[in-house]
Symmetry: C2
Subunit: 263 residues, 2 copies
């Protein structure tokens, strides 16, 4: 059933890699699948909600052992930079996120505003492990002065070492409520990211297979847009979660590399 697939979209955390107790990326699988895809002429795209420089994400994945090439990635930071350039041209952005997100966004011609006296066109929210009350208040002031709100994605939590931490979605919800504005969401589960991936891969939805360990945030929107979906059981979703869920992927495998025999 998956022989017609021309492109593979790969989630990262829980699908390709996981983190050990020191927070380092360790491989879950993917080497065999990527090599098989190259042999059989399938295109590959890592689809990640990470909000830092693409190069840093690719280096992490290569460091974990994955044979990925330059350009085989679409991250939420990159997608945000591309979306804004396409819809609005070069913009002035105020970033609630880490330095590396600013570096990624600047690649697409946007100006990163630091001085609070300058009026940005957009407040862009990414993951910020150094979030402070002051940053939230500056974001609010910019929003009240006319800036629009962009969420690089809307994930609720991300795993980190032995716990889960607050991701981008909760901060976007806080700023929406505080400012009476509605955010534009770019990354998963937003359609924007999936449409951008299809355009980059030059394939139709039914020719693309989204592979992830997560049903609601990753596979459901892929299914909604007409992609095929594959669930891996190496991450957050267990077999009993799948049985309870109304979201039914086209295929379920223990490990991402088990997909080789279907492709």
């Amino acid at each position: 059933m998956l022989k017609d697939i021309k492109a593979l979209l790969l989630d990262v955390q829980g699908t390709l890699t996981t983190r050990d107790e020191h927070g380092r990326n360790i491989l879950v699988g993917g080497v065999r699948l990527i090599e098989h895809a190259r042999r059989t002429g399938r295109r590959i795209l890592v689809l990640t909600n990470a909000t830092k420089r693409n190069e840093a994400i690719l280096n992490d994945l290569r460091g974990a052992g994955l044979p990925l090439e330059d350009g085989e990635i679409l991250s939420a930071g990159q997608a945000t930079g591309l979306y804004l350039r396409e819809k609005r041209g070069a913009c002035r952005l105020w970033i609630l996120g880490e330095r590396s997100l600013g570096e990624e966004l600047a690649k697409y011609g946007h100006e990163i505003v630091n001085d609070t006296s300058e009026k940005p066109h957009f407040v862009v929210v990414g993951l910020d492990r150094e979030l402070t009350f002051e940053k939230l208040n500056t974001a609010l002031a910019h929003l009240r002065s006319g800036a629009e709100l962009i969420g690089c994605h809307a994930s609720k939590r991300i795993p980190e070492k032995d716990r889960e931490i607050i991701s981008v979605g909760p901060i976007v919800k806080a700023l929406e409520y505080a400012s009476d504005k509605q955010a534009i969401i770019i990354g998963k589960p937003s359609r924007v990211m999936y449409e951008m991936a299809l355009a980059k891969l030059r394939v139709n939805p039914h020719e693309a297979l989204m592979i992830s360990d997560e049903l609601k945030n990753d596979l459901l929107p892929a299914k909604d847009i007409g992609m095929k979906t594959a669930l891996t059981l190496t991450g957050v979703t267990k077999r009993q979660d799948l049985e309870r869920s109304e979201i039914k992927p086209d295929i379920v495998v223990e490990n991402i590399d088990d997909l080789v025999s279907f492709l």
Copy 2:
């Protein structure tokens, strides 16, 4: 029309006081109304979403010149402490808020948990000008371990000096989204606070007059519960806002003291 009113519920910020450019409370009005209420046998209750010690709030108001007596206040912190004691007895609480909120909550027999290894029954969110990412993550961990979420109130913003800052509501929204839990809201605009005020004043809803500069958060819920409502124009609501609003208070005055001639 207001002669039958037996109790006055007074909002603080924008109604009784405002802040000067140094952040100090200065009086907007209220002395004449309070004195008139005493002469005519009306009970008085300051109804505030402040989440610090009641004594500190009363001292601020007296410092601004208002002749208020002990007990003539119901704050969101106090209401939270009373609500939890009534519904659940003495609880273990983890507080995302300032020290003064913990002091207020402890008055009602609750234990304030500081050590992150102890499991609280509730995460209580108040105003926290020293909010950090770490505090949000600790709150999330407690919620994921079974604690319930309480918002002392759900206000969006509060004025501070020459700007508005993030209030309690946005932080509650962030934690609700991150944890997949729904918060119990105590202060305005929640019914809980208004019902508690009526019980404290021993009056029926139609015998109580809620006085505030704010339509949606303060006067609408008062109206919904059957109270009479008076809007003052010394705060956030201007006459043109009132004209555009679907919320129609029973009476509109420039200054709170203008109510004297109606009571």
